[in-house]
C-alpha cells in the first residue's frame, strides 16, 4: 500500500467526554484506500514538547466526504494540542501505515473488543466487516457510563455490548467479565481486540479457550512509523518485529508471553 504525506484540514473537532475527542480531517487531494486497523503518524505543530509525530489509529473513513476520523484520548501535550484544534486548521499526516485486520468471509460472526480509546480502530473495522456480510458484535469496556463513546455509531454495524467498572451501564466489571464469554453464549468465529495490553492478553486467552482466531492491535512507542528506526519492536516467535510495519495487528499466538 502506498504511503502518503498530506496536509489535512480540521472539518470537525468534537468532544466525547472530558478525556476524549474525535477529529474529522479532510485532505485537499483524494484519500487513498485505507484498511481497518491501519494508523497514521500525525505531526503536531504548535506544541513545544511534541517533537515526534503521534501514531493514531484510523477511527473511521468516509470516502464520499473524503474524510478520515481519529478518536483520541487526551494524554500529554501532543494529544492536548490536537484537542485544541479548530475548524480549518491544518494537520500533516503520514498514512496509511501498518498492516490491517483480517477480514473473514461473508456470514461469519465477529466479536470486536475494545477498552478505553482502544475502541478507536474498531468502528471502521465494524463498518468494513458489516459491508462484507459479517455479523458484528462490539463489546466496549468503559470506566464509567460517561466514557462509553459513540454508542450510536457502533450500533449501526451490529450489536453493541457494554461493560462499565461500576456497572451503572451494561455489565459491571471489565470486558472479560461479560456473559458473552460464557460457553453457552459464545458463538463467534473470530475475535478482534484493541486496548490496554493486560486487557488484550486476557481477551486473547479467552479467544484461545474458545478455539477461535484472535487479532490484537498493539501500541508500542514509535519514532518513525515506517519501519526505519526499529524502536517499536515486539518479541515474536520469529524474533523482534516492528509494530509499525509488521503490525500493529498481530496474532497473539506469535507473540512471546502473550498466551
Amino acid at each position: 500500500m502506498r504511503k502518503f504525506i498530506h496536509d489535512f484540514h480540521v472539518v470537525e473537532n468534537r468532544d466525547l467526554n472530558p478525556g476524549h475527542f474525535v477529529l474529522t480531517l479532510k485532505p485537499d487531494v483524494e484519500l487513498t484506500p485505507i484498511f481497518p486497523g491501519q494508523f497514521t503518524e500525525v505531526r503536531v505543530d504548535g506544541s513545544a514538547n511534541t517533537f515526534l509525530r503521534r501514531p493514531l489509529s484510523i477511527h473511521d473513513v468516509d470516502y464520499k466526504a473524503n474524510t478520515v476520523t481519529l478518536l483520541v484520548q487526551k494524554k500529554g501535550d501532543g494529544t492536548n494540542r490536537l484537542a485544541s484544534m479548530k475548524y480549518g486548521e491544518t494537520v500533516n499526516l503520514v498514512y496509511p501505515l501498518g498492516n490491517c485486520f483480517h477480514i473473514g468471509s461473508s456470514g461469519e460472526r465477529a466479536l470486536l473488543v475494545g477498552g478505553g480509546c482502544g475502541v478507536a480502530p474498531l468502528l471502521y473495522l465494524g463498518k468494513v466487516l458489516a459491508k462484507s456480510g459479517i455479523h458484528v458484535t462490539t463489546l466496549m469496556g468503559a470506566r464509567t457510563e460517561e466514557y462509553i463513546m459513540e454508542a450510536e455509531l457502533y450500533k449501526r454495524y451490529g450489536e453493541l455490548l457494554i461493560t462499565t467498572e461500576d456497572g451503572k451501564a451494561g455489565t459491571k466489571g471489565y470486558v472479560i467479565h461479560h456473559e458473552i464469554w460464557r460457553e453457552r453464549n459464545f458463538s463467534f468465529d473470530r475475535v478482534y481486540t484493541c486496548g490496554p495490553d493486560p486487557m488484550m492478553k486476557a481477551v486473547a486467552r479467552l479467544a484461545a479457550r474458545h478455539h477461535v482466531p484472535c487479532e490484537v492491535s498493539l501500541e508500542q512507542t514509535m519514532a518513525c512509523g515506517v519501519g526505519a528506526c526499529l524502536c517499536c519492536v515486539v518479541e515474536t516467535n520469529e524474533g523482534n518485529k516492528c509494530t509499525c510495519t509488521d503490525g500493529p495487528v498481530f496474532d497473539p499466538n506469535n507473540l512471546i508471553n502473550w498466551l
Partner: protein, 305 residues
C-alpha cells in the same frame, strides 16, 4: 545557471552533499513512497554486524526536548543477511550505498568489512566505533585514541575502498580521536554519533529505556555537533561528514560552513519522511540566492573575523 552541488569524499562522488544517517533511513525502500532514494548524495544503511542481532529489549525509545533517545542496539540481520536479503533490493540505486559496520571485537569489524569489500555497489563503509547502545564494544572503541586507532588500522588492512570512521561525541577531545584515525588511513570521518543520555519516568520511578541509557539525537544536539565538526575540520586534512540534528537546508549549510564536506540527515527523517529532497532543494536555493555557483566554495567558509 544551476549551481553545482557535487562534492567528493575521497573517491566517492556525491551528486549533492545530502546523505541519510545510519539507523534512521532503514535501507532505502522504507522511504520509496516518499521520494526516490537515488536523488540522495548517499545512503548510510543500518549498522551491520557479523551475526544477526535482535538488539535490546523494548522500550528502546524516549522522546526528549527537541530530540530523542534510542537504544535499538544494532538490531540487524548480520552481514550475510544484508548481502543475501537486502543488498539485491537496493544495489540498483543510483547513489552511494555505504554500509555502517559495527561490532563488539576487532575481529568482527574485520569480518564485516572484508565481506562488504566484495560488493560492487558499495563503494565505502562507515566504521561505527561510537554506538552507545551495546554493552560490549561499540562506543568503547571510539572513546580513546589507541583503541580508535587500532580498529581503524585493522580494518584498513582488509578494506580497499573508501573508509569512513564515525566518531563518538562522548569524549574530551574529538579532534584528537580524529587525528588518531586519520593517522591510520581513514579516508573521512563522520561527526557525530549520538550523545549518551538518559530518561526517567518520574511517576513510575523507572528508566524509560530498557538499557537505562541511550543515544540522544535530533535538534537538541545540533549546537554540540556543529562545534565538534568545526573542531575536527580544523584538526585534520581528510574530509568531515557532518551530522547531528540537521532538519533544514539552513542547518546543512551551517555544518558545511563549519567544515563539513557533506552531511547526513538522521532523526529528521522521522518527522518528515520527505525532508531530504527539501534539504537538497533548499541548499540549491541558498546557493542561487547568494550567487554561489559551486557548493565547494562554502566548505569551511565560516567567516570568524
Amino acid at each position: 545557471m544551476k549551481p553545482s552541488l557535487e562534492v567528493k569524499i575521497h573517491n566517492l562522488v556525491l551528486k549533492n552533499p545530502v546523505m541519510t544517517a545510519s539507523g534512521t533511513f532503514g535501507y532505502g525502500p522504507e522511504f520509496e513512497d516518499f521520494f526516490d532514494p537515488s536523488t540522495l548524495g548517499g545512503i548510510f544503511v543500518k549498522g551491520t554486524t557479523g551475526k544477526l542481532r535482535q538488539g535490546n529489549p523494548y522500550p528502546r525509545m524516549a522522546e526528549t526536548p527537541m530530540g530523542m533517545l534510542n537504544a535499538v542496539g544494532l538490531q540487524n540481520k548480520g552481514v550475510d543477511g544484508f548481502i543475501n536479503d537486502i543488498y539485491p533490493r537496493i544495489k540498483h540505486y543510483h547513489t552511494n550505498l555505504i554500509v555502517n559496520v559495527s561490532g563488539s571485537t576487532i575481529e568482527e569489524y574485520i569480518e564485516v568489512a572484508e565481506k562488504i569489500n566484495s560488493l560492487d555497489h558499495v563503494p565505502a563503509i562507515e566504521l561505527n566505533i561510537s554506538c552507545p547502545n551495546v554493552k560490549e564494544g561499540g562506543m568503547a572503541f571510539g572513546t580513546s585514541c589507541p583503541s580508535a586507532a587500532a580498529v581503524t588500522r585493522a580494518v584498513r588492512e582488509v578494506y580497499q575502498k573508501t573508509l569512513i570512521v564515525k566518531l563518538s561525541p562522548n569524549v574530551t577531545s574529538i579532534a584528537e580521536i580524529a587525528q588518531a584515525v586519520e593517522g591510520e588511513g581513514a579516508d573521512a570521518v563522520s561527526v557525530i554519533n549520538t550523545l549518551l543520555g538518559m530518561a526517567i519516568n518520574a511517576e513510575t520511578r523507572r528508566p524509560v529505556l530498557s538499557t537505562v541509557t541511550g543515544g540522544l539525537s535530533g535538534p537538541a544536539i545540533k549546537p554540540v555537533a556543529l562545534r565538534m565538526v568545526w573542531q575536527t575540520a580544523n584538526a585534520i586534512k581528510i574530509p568531515v561528514i557532518g551530522l547531528g540534528g540537521i532538519m533544514t537546508a539552513s542547518d546543512a549549510i551551517e555544518f558545511i560552513l563549519a567544515g563539513a564536506t557533506a552531511v547526513q540527515v538522521g532523526t529528521a527523517n522521522f518527522i518528515d519522511p520527505a525532508v531530504c529532497p527539501k534539504i537538497i532543494e533548499g541548499i540549491e536555493d541558498y546557493l542561487i540566492r547568494h550567487g554561489i555557483d559551486n557548493i565547494k566554495s562554502l566548505i569551511s567558509g565560516l567567516n570568524i573575523n
